[in-house]
């Protein structure tokens, strides 16, 4: 009962935050609310016992991406451009959203209930991992064992993605060897 109340409260705040993000035009406030959104999502992951995911969401979503968004915001405008509502143009996106949303809700009807022990995810490969992880690797945290050993290729790809993303950012916005030299060049112009 208590956990349901916590879930309802977190989901309620999540929806309120999303609505506030939609309505606000001040990008600074939007960035801070996006961080709050991630923190609430991390809380929800904790109530689902997915602590590794919650940890990542709190550190990346609420922590570092907020800082990176703020530093990107410093290079651009602080307010969104005023949005002119043209009712003729709204029909198609609205229908797209409604149809997609209805399809997603229809899709959830077939899903097993949360924590259902007969769900396919628990009866096939999940149980296999739980019985094999300790004899195979001796690592008590199954998530770590799956990430780094059984699914090592995927994690290698993930690390490569982060490496490539950082290289792309450095190439796009520039990474001068030294800030002082660049400042001298600016001064001489």
């Amino acid at each position: 009962m208590g956990i349901i109340l916590v879930d309802l409260m977190l989901f309620g705040f999540l929806v309120l935050t999303a609505l506030a993000i939609m309505r606000l035009t001040n990008l600074f406030a939007v960035t801070m609310l996006a961080g709050l959104f991630s923190l609430l999502a991390a809380g929800l992951f904790v109530t689902m016992d997915a602590v590794d995911v919650a940890f990542t969401e709190a550190a990346v979503g609420a922590g570092i991406s907020t800082v990176l968004m703020l530093s990107a915001l410093a290079l651009t405008a602080r307010n969104e451009k005023p949005f002119v509502i043209v009712s003729r143009r709204m029909a198609v996106p609205l229908i797209c959203c409604l149809v997609t949303g209805a399809a997603l809700i229809y899709g959830t009807l077939d899903m097993p209930a949360f924590g259902d022990p007969d769900a396919p995810v628990h009866t096939h490969v999940g149980g296999e991992y739980i019985t094999r992880v300790i004899p195979d690797t001796g690592v008590p945290n199954i998530v770590t064992a799956v990430l780094a050993s059984y699914r090592g290729y995927d994690t290698l790809g993930e690390t490569t993605v982060i490496f490539v993303a950082a290289i792309a950012v450095l190439l796009l916005i520039g990474f001068p060897r030294s800030a002082t030299r660049r400042r001298d060049e600016d001064g001489s112009e």
Partner: protein, 145 residues
Amino acid sequence: MHHHLILRVVAKLLLPFILLYALYVQWHGDYGPGGGFQAGVIFAVGFILYALVYGVDALVRVVPRGVLVGAMAVGLLLYAGTGVVSLFLGLDYLDYSRLAHDPVHGQEWGILLVELGVGIAVAAAMTAIFVAFATREPDIDDEDW
């Protein structure tokens, strides 16, 4: 330089604990939640906090840009290199079973090494992205804010 005295003192007090916690998450990922990715992010957050309070130039003096880019590559190569080592030991790519005297210990060593690679790559990449953004001169005036 005397602005935000409390902020500077508190940040200086917090920094060692943030970095120590990152190391804890890194090496304790086998037993508790977390691992290389989370540890790398927390480590980068420590550096970014330092940059926010003391300025990006101070951070660049501590970790030069070349070190950041190098560490990104070293982390990724440590991961990929662990896989190459297991190839030379006669196993599949990223199969760690022969990295130690018995397969279970080999797996533990392999997981530790690749997580360390992930941690180094993520910490360097996040810090590099922040430094790149923060050292770029903004194009807008203060009045626009």
